[in-house]
Symmetry: C2
Subunit: 218 residues, 2 copies
């Protein structure tokens, strides 16, 4: 299977979500420009992306919604369920657990970790909370391949080390630090502060253009 470029993976994930909604509306086909409008992209971009994963449409009907979803599923998720472990059950951690419960059945948060005595031993969103010292053991035993770091910056590296020791292959990192991990572990940073500061910058200096033009009319 060919390597899919990072940006493309992101868009495919977005396309899939949009297509899921279309299925609910009994829509069976759509054209590249439809998907472009719905995803805030361009028709050429959509065609290029689908080309990368080798999906074929027909000029007459466009792309088949069901078939496309299925292909994206196999490209991105693979066949089996991927168990996920999350460290840090604060507001953010809880939000993440809630967000994911049931949303993508193939990506399942199966264990949470926190050292707050009020949380250990209980369940949050159907997910058992263990002590942080148990990370390595549980990750290994449950064959968890993906870790979520939702702890303060000060302890993020320590937590990442534990996850890696347990054998995770990917980390979703909410802490605003550059984690050091072995090469074969993929880190995806999701940094709220950085995003907020980007918005602030563009809100302050951005284009003072015509009020009525809209993003997706390109």
């Amino acid at each position: 299977m060919a390597e899919i470029p990072e940006k493309t993976v992101g868009r495919l994930s977005l396309y899939r979500r949009i297509l899921g909604r279309l299925v609910a509306e009994r829509r069976s086909h759509l054209h590249s420009h439809d998907l472009a409008a719905l995803s805030g992209s361009t028709a050429a971009q959509v065609r290029r992306d689908l080309m990368t994963i080798g999906y074929q449409g027909s000029p007459a009907r466009g792309y088949d919604v069901q078939g496309l979803i299925q292909l994206i599923d196999t490209m991105l998720d693979g066949p089996e369920v991927q168990p996920i472990g999350l460290v840090g059950v604060g507001n953010l951690g809880r939000a993440v657990i809630t967000y994911f419960s049931g949303r993508r059945p193939n990506l399942k948060i199966v264990a949470a970790f926190d050292d707050d005595a009020d949380k250990v031993g209980r369940h949050v969103g159907g997910c058992p909370v263990h002590r942080v010292s148990e990370v390595e053991r549980v990750v290994r035993e449950e064959r968890i391949r993906i870790g979520v770091v939702a702890v303060p910056a000060e302890v993020a590296q320590k937590v990442a080390d534990l996850l890696v020791a347990g054998g995770v292959r990917g980390i979703l990192n909410f802490a605003p630090v550059a984690l050091r991990v072995p090469r074969n572990v993929h880190v995806e940073d999701l940094d709220m502060t950085m995003s907020m500061e980007k918005v602030a910058y563009y809100a302050r200096t951005g284009p003072v253009g015509d009020q009525e033009e809209r993003r997706d009319e390109r």
Copy 2:
């Protein structure tokens, strides 16, 4: 003032945070490769970034920490405080409010909005919660320029419209939809599902390379 490219803005925000920690450690100067190591970037990248904002170092001592922080401050934040409004006081909304309280004094969440009767009229993290129907009025009255959308996807567009009507110039969007806004409003998407799916993809297919190599040794 020149336009700073989007990617660079992100890295500058990261550099600033790192430099802040260095100040606490009484470090007065650092070289491009130091900042590169701390931020998970490369020395050439750091030099290029600092060049774009016109900061000068000396080959002997490197870059002055305090001066650099100050320049990034003026480049990114501007002089006055930017008030922020947040819609959706669920776990995620609360996490965002907590995250930002006090962290960057120039970016202050001054108003929250939710329709849950248990929340309206109370304070969350020192921030008053209004009814969603009040968004436009409060945004206008408080001169809020930045909105945070932390509501479910179904109502995100409606909320964005209210924020825009009130006059925001930038939106930080946590909802997994492509918001349609006027051209002069900057939208920054922060999509957990997408990031998680990216991690899952790379965790599954990523390099099976040598266990011991580390990210930042380039």
